[in-house]
């Protein structure tokens, strides 16, 4: 589904990603772990289509399309979703209007009719309930005045409504208390299926206790230095990133 080959990316002349290879197949859950500054968020944002990055080498293919040539809205319409580490506040635009606009753009692309107000409300209410979100958040401006936990849950709500094929979650666990974390993890787990791929970008192993990944990658200084099963995350938690970075330097 997603195939990243020898990807090199620079920001303002400084190389952040230095040869990433990553293959994600439908139905898989991948975790990309790494210390601060390793390039995890850059990778997630680049894949979602953020501007301001220079791809100096390599390629990214998504469903056999040249993903790097697509503007962000086309990627989203083709099923790519990023849950932001820092969700953006959009003053004056209600969450309901935002979600409806996004959902209808994506449905249009998929050749589906636009949802009417009633169907939309029914759909969103159900998803909000499962995430333990207050329905009042629909009439509030997008993320404005939301608590940290509400913002993160709002990202998961968008994912649940938009039903992407490739969902990337950037540090979705940060700032969540244990109850909110469980709700968010349940929300993600409910979306696991044979057609959908999920990529979790995280610094800590905590989230992976609740969403067990198929593959764990460790990113360090712009490279994937080790890949393994779920047990790799546990080892990292025990020994820290220093352990791997040393190991890489020795080898």
């Amino acid at each position: 589904m997603l195939s990243v080959k020898n990807l090199h990316v620079a920001v303002e002349g400084k190389e952040i990603l230095r040869g990433i290879d990553l293959d994600v197949r439908p139905g898989e859950v991948h975790a990309i772990m790494g210390p601060n500054g390793s390039g995890k968020s850059t990778l997630a944002q680049l894949l979602a289509g953020r501007e301001g990055y220079q791809v100096t080498a390599g390629s990214v293919r998504y469903l056999d399309m040249d993903m790097l040539a697509m503007p962000p809205e086309e990627r989203a319409r083709a099923g790519v979703f990023l849950a932001f580490q820092y969700p953006v506040e959009i003053p004056g635009v209600s969450n309901a209007l935002f979600l409806k606009t996004a959902l209808n753009s994506i449905r249009k692309q998929r050749g589906l009719p636009e949802l009417d107000a009633m169907d939309f409300l029914t759909l969103v209410r159900d998803k909000m309930k499962l995430l333990g979100m207050d329905e009042k958040l629909l009439q509030r401006a997008v993320n404005e005045g939301f608590s940290g936990g509400e913002k993160k849950r709002n990202e998961i709500l968008q994912m649940a409504v938009l039903e992407p094929s490739l969902a990337m979650l950037d540090e979705t666990d940060s700032g969540l208390d244990i109850d909110a974390l469980k709700l968010v993890a349940d929300g993600v787990n409910r979306m696991r299926n044979a057609e959908r791929a999920i990529v979790l970008v995280t610094h800590y192993q905590r989230l992976l206790e609740f969403i067990v990944p198929d593959v764990v990658h460790v990113l360090s200084q712009g490279r994937i230095v080790k890949s393994g099963g779920a047990e790799l995350a546990v080892e990292l938690e025990q020994y820290g990133y220093g352990w791997l970075e040393n190991e890489v330097q020795v080898s």
Binding site: P72, A76, T101
Partner: protein
């Protein structure tokens, strides 16, 4: 005195009295003549004056005629007008066409006991009891107010006895339908103790009307009275519009002013309130949405003259094309106004390199123990916000429109009358690419 005024004066003095209201009342004629002399003595303001530094009214001075005329609306426009009026049963509607009340188009509806809603021209012509404040020089904040006094055509007088509450908004629609028409509306709202009302002043220019409107609105609020005032400026693209809205507030009164400047070639609003009694609340909200070569100038002033009053001012501008916005907001806290709580902000979104904004928030504080803040910002659409929306499948153009709509909506959302709020929301969306689609989803 410049040549235009001189030549206009000759014409005006000969022609005007015959068809201006109140010409049978000697005191009205005297008031008009003396106001006209004040206007002539000063002449049109120039950019050398501080208050007119950024707004050039030379184009108004060059008009061939400033005399108000009495052009009847053409029937086609009349029919179209109904489309513009809010559902008639939900308002007390008065329609003025080219400065004169049209009884056919108006629908006053039923008023509660103690409420009077009348045409100023009718009151003047019938020599009925006129509000004492009429033609009060206190409210001549600009020389255009003197010109208005000299040439006032008609307007609305709303008087509420103490305790009277108007449930439905008073909707005043001023339509310009002729070419080169000069229009001088004068509105007077006097609310007794504890009385409450909502008034909408809507200035609408038909087709390509390049009229000149010079309006004055005087507001007097007794103790505990409350007025929501919403001005919607939607003049034609070649029209000039100059207006003053001036309030006097007694203790515990509430005045909320909303000003939406969406149309016109040149618009200038002077909006002021004097908080004369303790514990008044005053809020000034405004939005100017400009493109092409439009120019809109808001000069506001709030005088805190008594203790424990609160004032809030939120003005926003969205400027595209080669448009020019001006905001000058003055808050003066006088020596007796202890425990004043005043906040003022002006935020601007520049959508093109050629657009220009001159913003000047000013605080003058002569009292102790006050809480006052002010600020102004000028910026562009935020890249992070655009990316966030696009990453959800929303195309770049719609994302821009959503952000602009959101920026405007923070001001529109403060209007309490729901029909008016929806009307303005739609007018803003009509101006934005993909705005129709957003409208459907609201």
């Amino acid at each position: 005195m410049n040549a235009q005024i001189e030549s206009w004066e000759k014409m005006a003095l000969e022609r005007v009295p015959q068809y201006l209201a109140g010409h049978g009342l000697p005191w009205v004629t005297r008031a008009r003549q003396s106001a006209f002399e004040r206007f002539v003595a000063h002449g049109f303001p120039t950019r050398r004056e501080e208050e007119w530094k950024y707004t050039d009214v030379a184009a108004i001075a060059k008009r061939t005629s400033l005399a108000p005329d009495n052009i009847p609306p053409d029937p086609a426009s009349e029919a179209a007008l109904f489309a513009w009026t809010l559902a008639q049963e939900s308002t007390h509607l008065l329609v003025f066409v080219n400065g004169h009340l049209s009884t056919e188009l108006s629908a006053l509806g039923e008023l509660p006991t103690g409420a009077r809603l009348e045409s100023l021209a009718d009151l003047m012509d019938s020599n009925a009891d006129l509000p004492q404040a009429l033609f009060d020089q206190q409210h001549e904040h600009t020389v255009f107010a003197a010109l208005n006094t000299a040439l006032t055509t008609d307007g609305t007088v709303l008087r509420l006895a103490p305790g009277v509450v108007l449930e439905k908004p008073v909707y005043l629609l001023f339509v310009a339908s002729g070419h080169g028409t000069a229009i001088y509306p004068r509105n007077i709202f006097v609310l007794g103790e504890g009385a409450h009302a909502t008034v909408i002043e809507h200035y609408f220019g038909m087709l390509e009307a390049h009229n000149f409107t010079d309006a004055v609105t005087q507001i007097s609020l007794a103790a505990g009275a409350g007025l929501q005032h919403c001005k919607l400026l939607q003049e034609g693209k070649d029209a000039f519009h100059v207006a003053g809205i001036h309030a006097e507030q007694a203790a515990g009164s509430r005045f909320a002013s909303h000003s939406f400047a969406l149309g016109g070639r040149l618009a200038r609003n002077d909006i002021t309130s004097r908080l004369n009694g303790a514990e008044c609340q005053c809020s000034f909200d405004g939005l100017y949405l400009l493109d092409g070569r439009q120019h809109a100038d808001h000069h506001t002033r709030i005088d805190h003259l008594a203790p424990s009053c609160t004032s809030r001012e939120h003005y926003r501008g969205i400027l595209d094309g080669e448009s020019h916005g001006v905001f000058s907001g003055k808050v003066v806290v006088h020596p007796l106004a202890a425990k004043t709580d005043a906040h003022q902000s002006n935020r601007n979104l520049l959508l093109s390199r050629q657009a220009e904004i001159d913003t000047k928030p000013q605080l003058e504080i002569f009292a102790d123990d006050v809480k006052c803040t002010h600020g102004a910002t000028v910026g562009q659409l935020d890249d992070d916000s655009l990316f966030y929306l696009r990453s959800r499948g929303i195309d770049a153009e719609s994302a821009r429109s959503l952000l602009i709509y959101g920026f405007a909506n923070d001001i529109i959302g403060r209007v309490e009358a729901p029909e008016m709020r929806a009307r303005i929301e739609h007018l803003v969306l009509d101006r934005l690419p993909q705005g129709d689609q957003i409208k459907e989803l609201l």
